[in-house]
């Protein structure tokens, strides 16, 4: 394992210290427990939008804290959910009197810890709602798994709900909007290489040169199937087809296409893949109205990508376009 770290045990805190220095104008970082806060939190009478999860997915979630997106992020250890104390502290520090919305990715640990935190915050008299995102079509939603995972759609959900909260939409409205976005966003990912969690010191799985994992989550876990590496066209098709079938997306639909790098795939390959995805969607008469391309929800240094499609309407387009000022997303300001 070769990484720019001093000690696996302090990676997250060491990274947070650097992040706080790099973005002192936007963020305030607390360490015990660890919470990344909007510099101007709490914002009076605004719904607090809070998310979090394991570290190692940067810029998710801390990179999306700021005006027009998240009020707070709770970074857990690498690939491990935060504890209830962290989430409860985030709620306490961002509650502006309008309640808090917790955005939780559907992974067992995240759901359990946020659930417990919600109970703690409710006991403190804060109106807290939880929305679980489960956009990963690689997992069949059945009794035989923990349910679909929350992956790339999380980024789009945080942006859109963050914009609504910034405009003064109340907690009921933010919650309903979040559930609507969860209902119409779908994702699928693939890995060309595994990643190495610092404290583990070795890759979470090994792939031969001619193999890839199809249907991965974001924690370096193996995917649903191991298949032969093909051309970029074949890879993008393998990601898009299950996404398109699932909702389903059809001719005339307006969509946001999010082409995401898992961390190790360079922009040259990502843009190449994005171009293929746009072509495949155009062939089906699907209108790509907004795009996001880059490493936004990653798995450390893993090579690979994911594709996310969100069905748009005028309201969602307007909220997507609304100003945002965070370390990782910034426009309109």
């Amino acid at each position: 394992m070769k990484k720019i770290i001093n000690d696996p045990a302090t990676v997250v805190v060491d990274a947070l210290r650097g992040m706080a220095l790099a973005h002192a104008d936007l963020l305030e970082v607390r360490y015990d427990p660890a919470v990344v806060l909007r510099a101007d939190a709490p914002v009076s009478r605004k719904v607090a939008v809070i998310s979090g999860g394991g570290s190692g997915h940067e810029p998710l979630h801390g990179g999306f804290v700021g005006r027009g997106m998240l009020d707070a992020a709770c970074p857990g250890p690498v690939f491990t959910s935060p504890t209830p104390d962290q989430v409860a502290a985030a709620v306490a520090r961002t509650d502006g009197g309008a309640g808090a919305l917790l955005i939780v990715k559907n992974y067992t640990g995240d759901v359990l810890n946020f659930e417990t935190a919600g109970e703690l915050a409710a006991a403190d008299g804060v109106d807290v709602r939880t929305v679980v995102i489960d956009d990963d079509v690689a997992v069949k939603d059945s009794l035989y798994t923990a349910g679909r995972r929350g992956v790339g759609g999380t980024v789009l959900l945080e942006k859109i709900v963050g914009a609504a909260a910034e405009r003064g939409v109340d907690l009921d409205g933010c919650e309903a909007l979040a559930r609507r976005v969860v209902g119409q966003v779908r994702s699928m990912g693939l890995a060309l290489t595994a990643c190495t969690v610092p404290h583990a010191g070795e890759p979470s799985f090994t792939l031969a040169d001619d193999e890839m994992e199809l249907g991965i989550g974001i924690h370096g876990e193996p995917g649903r199937r191991r298949v032969a590496v093909g051309t970029a066209d074949e890879m993008v098709r393998a990601l898009l087809e299950p996404v398109l079938e699932d909702l389903p997306f059809g001719e005339g639909d307006r969509v946001l296409l999010f082409t995401n790098s898992m961390g190790g795939t360079p922009l040259i390959e990502l843009y190449l893949a994005h171009g293929i995805a746009e072509r495949l969607l155009a062939e089906r008469g699907i209108v790509v109205e907004r795009r996001l391309v880059g490493p936004y929800i990653t798995s450390l240094e893993m090579q690979g990508m994911s594709v996310t499609l969100l069905k748009l309407d005028d309201e969602l387009v307007e909220l997507w376009d609304a100003p945002v000022h965070t370390p990782a997303l910034r426009w309109g300001v």
Binding site: P33, G54, G76, P77, V78, F79, T80, S81, P82, T83, P84, D85, Y107, T108, G109, L112, N113, E115, T116, A138, V139, L143, Y144, T145, A146, R149, V197, H199, A200, S204, F205, G217, H219, G220, E221, P222, R224
Partner: protein, 208 residues
């Protein structure tokens, strides 16, 4: 034989030492079907508990409650809330008495299992810690009902938990991160079931 706050604290220190010793093994089991941090996470929580036990609470229930809150606030992941809930329910079951007997230990294990099932919503056969804890509770109860002491009750629980953990090798995971692997999770020992067996074996070893 009955156990006191000090003996429960001593047993929890031993649990911390054993989990730290098996940290790599648990990480490896988790890496095969999950994300490889089960040993790391449990060890972090138990080390934190060890340092808090410099001041031992006044009752066995108090020690279990301290274990619960420490694990919930330091472990994260699925293991934090699940182990935390287990210890919290055990603490509530034991109450504020000064010492506990075999019957109380069996009842505490039953309460722990009920808590884990309620929180994690896993059933027998889902390839989780429930597959180790369920037979452990049944074994503990059958020994307690015949008047067995703390040591006998825990020894029976530990043995049943080990067999239960071994049985997860043949299972396809239906809960937790391993469930995303589907059929590919078969043939691997569940790390949560393994750590449950380790904890119970250590507690049994300390109860004399």
């Amino acid at each position: 034989m009955e156990c006191t706050a000090e003996s429960v604290a001593e047993a929890m220190r031993a649990v911390a030492a054993v989990v730290v010793e098996h940290r790599e093994e648990l990480n490896r089991l988790d890496r095969e079907i999950g994300d490889g941090d089960h040993g790391e996470n449990l060890a972090r929580g138990l080390r934190a508990l060890e340092s808090k036990l410099d001041e031992v609470p006044s009752s066995p229930g108090g020690v279990l409650r301290l274990a619960a809150t420490t694990l919930i606030s330091t472990v994260g992941g699925a293991a934090g809330p699940l182990y935390g809930t287990a210890f919290l329910r055990a603490a509530t079951s034991v109450g504020d008495v000064a010492s506990v007997d075999g019957e109380a230990v069996a009842a505490a294990l039953r309460a722990a299992l009920d808590g884990v099932v309620a929180r994690g919503k896993a059933a027998l056969g889902d390839k989780t810690m429930v597959d180790a804890l369920t037979p452990a509770v049944a074994a503990a109860e059958s020994v307690a009902v015949t008047g067995g002491g703390v040591a006998e009750v825990l020894a029976a629980a530990a043995e049943a938990a080990e067999m239960g953990a071994d049985s997860t090798v043949r299972m396809v995971a239906r809960k937790g991160r391993a469930s995303y692997l589907g059929e590919r999770s078969e043939g691997h020992l569940d790390p949560g079931a393994r750590s449950t067996a380790l904890v119970l074996r250590t507690l049994a070893g300390r109860a004399r």
